[in-house]
């Protein structure tokens, strides 16, 4: 089967923060599964896209959710006029034809679903398709990458120890201010000064993490704010609608954050 639709044509922008590119390359060379950890909106998905492009491999992304079953990943029989026909799921597709399979927010899926990846992530590198009575050995190019946000999910829904320990992990955080500003400039098309102000604003909201906010404003939020400004909205209004309002519903925290943001504006 042709996986060309899953190939990434042009280079997705990614600003390396540390040795994550080398780490991923090394893991890929050894075909070790990788786990990307970090807060929301800090560039995990972008990183995977960048790596798939860099390595020249197709990328199959699956967003995990609560109702996802093992069949949604591996595949199922469908009924056609001529009879039942097996249909590979996204994971089986990646395994069979050699792609990087990216399971986004893996903990959202139920634990009994995630165990389906176990035989793929040790030395066996196989995907057993029970219903079909088939064992699919992984293609040489196949690699599994998962992402999860340790802060955001509940500890009750944490990854199983037996799942966790199969992965090589790469930790993502918010970039240092100068880098983050550069990213905002690049992605939203704002000028440097505005980007610096946005980063300072994000810093204020991250200060409130654990003191009223669960997570501070992400780089993605800053990019949104920058794009709102570029589309003609005044800075204050843009920050309100793309950072303050989405991030909290608590009126005290909202007004404290707004005032702290005021302090960042020139």
């Amino acid at each position: 089967m042709n996986l060309d639709p899953y190939r990434i044509a042009s280079e997705p922008y990614y600003e390396p923060l540390g040795h994550e590119i080398e780490a991923f390359k090394a893991a890929y060379a050894e075909r070790l599964p990788v786990m990307l950890k970090g807060p929301t909106g800090c560039g995990k998905t972008r990183f995977v896209e960048h790596m798939a492009w860099l390595l020249g491999k197709p990328l199959i992304t699956v967003a995990a959710h609560e109702d996802m079953t093992a069949a949604d990943l591996a595949g199922r029989y469908l009924l056609e006029p001529s009879g039942t026909v097996w249909h590979d799921g996204p994971l089986a597709l990646a395994v069979r034809f050699g792609a990087i399979c990216y399971l986004d927010e893996i903990v959202e899926a139920r634990q009994d679903t995630t165990v389906v990846i176990h035989p793929l992530t040790d030395t066996r590198r196989i995907l057993p398709l029970e219903k079909r009575g088939e064992i699919v050995p992984a293609h040489a190019d196949f690699q599994l990458t998962i992402s999860y946000n340790p802060g955001y999910q509940s500890a009750v829904k944490d990854l199983k120890e037996s799942t966790k320990q199969r992965f090589v992990a790469i930790d993502f955080g918010y970039p240092p201010p100068a880098t983050e500003a550069a990213i905002v400039v690049r992605e939203s098309g704002t000028d440097n000064d505005l980007a610096a102000v946005l980063v300072a604003i994000a810093q204020r909201s991250r200060n409130l993490q654990g003191h009223g906010l669960d997570e501070g404003a992400s780089t993605r939020m800053l990019i949104h704010a920058g794009r709102m400004v570029r589309a003609g909205l005044p800075l204050e209004a843009a920050v309100q609608s793309s950072i303050v309002l989405p991030i909290t519903d608590n009126p005290d925290i909202r007004s404290a954050l707004s005032d702290a943001i005021q302090a960042c504006l020139p």
């Binding site: 029989y77 009750v156 404290a256 960042c264």
Partner: protein, 746 residues
Amino acid sequence: MLMRQREVLRPIFRAAWDDLSHHFDATELEAWAGAVLQLANVNAGPTCLIAYWEASKDGAAREEIAPLLAAAQVATDICRNAGARAATSALKALPVAARAFGNGPALARWWRAMDLLARQAEESVEPVATRMNEVLAPGTIDAFENFVSAGLRAASGNKARRIAFFSLEDELARRMIARDLGSVTFPEAEVELKAFLTALWGRPPLLRSFPTDNNQLAQRRASIAGPVIRLPEVYRGVQGDAARELFRAAAAHAQAHLVLGQDLFPVGTLKPLQIALVNLIEDARIETLAMRQLPGLRRLWAPYHIASPSGVVSAPTQLARLARALFDPAYVDDDAFVAKGRAMFLASRIGDPATSREIGMLLGNDLGQMRVQFNVKTYVVEPVYRDDGLGLWDFGENGPLGEVVELPIEAVKVEQREAGETEEATGEREGERAEFGGARPVAPDQRGVVIAKYPEWDSARGIERPEWTVVREVAARLDEPRMIEEALDRAHVLRSRIGRLIRGVRIGRKIRLGRQHEGHDLDIDAVLDAGIALRTGREPDPRIFRSSTSVYRDLSVLLLIDVSESTSDRLASGSTILDVERLAVSILAEAMGKLGDTFSLLAFASDGREDVKMTSIKSFDELYDRACKARLAGLSSGLSTRLGAALRHAGRVIGGTVSARKLVIVLTDGEPSDIDVSDPLALVEDARRAAIGLHTAGIDAYGVVLGQAGGSSASRIFRRGKTMMVHRVEDLPNRLSELYFRLARL
């Protein structure tokens, strides 16, 4: 005569009783009737009794008997000291006070102040009580206590003047209760301020307030003491959003000192004017640094810099103009002194605190040579948002000497007097409490109201002794809920972890159900199976839909807290076992409150079989609010652990709930023991029997045992699978919440 009165009173009493019986159970009503009798015994007279019944009806909706009993107690004392009319008027004022203060410790303090008045100025109780609405206009209990003590002091024993004061005919009295409508008090702004400062510099501030002193003409400035920022309770004359702005400006300025400033300045031989100038330069330096990071702070502070070149030349105006010149580059001022100060400041090394001292000293000399008047006693820092500057100085071990440093002396005196006063005041209160249990919501019997009797298992003889233990309800002592809130703030890492656990079990979450008879969506796997069945000629399963349902939890939890003497032991960290228990309970209570689980908190300790004390911190039908936190904060260690009786009582309390699942979690630090039982094993056996009793009644009992000891007996009592050992007491908050989430999981 008396009999006739009784005839008249009876129906009114009946009506009150009926009213209260909707809110309270038999024992509570019994205690209430006792309180009525107590009032009748001091010849309070029919009007007073009726006033009490009315006040009781009014207060009954709050579902708490203790404040009503306390009210009768103090009213009795007032009646003794100041007569029935005074007592009647105080009772009539009670609803006003309750509206202002709720049922918490503030109301108890209100009663204490009324009682104090009855003792020291019996004639003044009635005038002040009838005007309670106006008197309580400032809205804080501090203000009321202030008002009463000011009245007593101002009249200095002169009865007529006292009456004038408390009838609000006196100018000072009127000024003291004048509160601007729309003014914002510190507690109203506190949460937001804290979050604001945390957001600015990533460091949660320690904020306190000091009461506004209406006798002073000038608004007292914020002050810094060590890591603590103290702000006025209210900024007089500033309202609404403007007041919030001012709070923010003042707090941001003070926190900037703490974040960006360095060591304290030694006072040395500086003159007061020099000290004031060093403060001024340091303020400007800190603000400049802060505005480099956060340029928008300029907008926050700028509106308060209003000094202008006009006006007479005096030290305060010169200082205010210099402050503005250093803050506002656009400000034009031709005065030589201001210009020199500005030039020196601009040329200085802004990052170096020594700059402030250098420039301040030089400018102080200049201003001194200009012979402008500088009155230390009336000087206040301008603009209003800045702190008084005293927190920047190191006054040395022995404090300042000689007249040269009068400014700090004055200031230090103020500080010391304040500290002294508060200590005295609390000392006085403690004394009062001990002297007459009046203002404390304690029921008539010192040992508390008997609420139940339980059997006990005598393991040596193998028989159960009926009605062997007597459980008494002891009203909780109240303390500052702030204590709990601060402890919670310090434990914010754990708290946010628990917060995530909460979100994980959020009730009302939808779950999907596959293979249903009906639903909103086809279950693709079921459809396929049905299709295959049809083709192969078998009967298909008609359940081919998916639907969803909400998660619903039907659970009530009772947390039984051991507060026996051993919980006063100190840990390596310096806090007591009880402190850790308190933190653990408050974290868990907060979590359960957020989840909407019904829960109750009971503390127990025993003093022999006749006296097993239970303190209700939160009952099942109460909301977990500040009143509960105040009770939790007020817990103190003492006496022994008669676990069996406590368990039986917990079983009875939780048995009254209608939940499908009932959970009792016992928090204890060791083995059961009591003064009248020599063989501790006997109490272990009894507790075990009590736990089995709970089990048969369908109640799950779990033991959480602190420390090294007590493990074997605990697993004997609760069985091994239902015991959790916490060897390191400090781990308790974490482990307790974990246990809860494990047990309460669906």
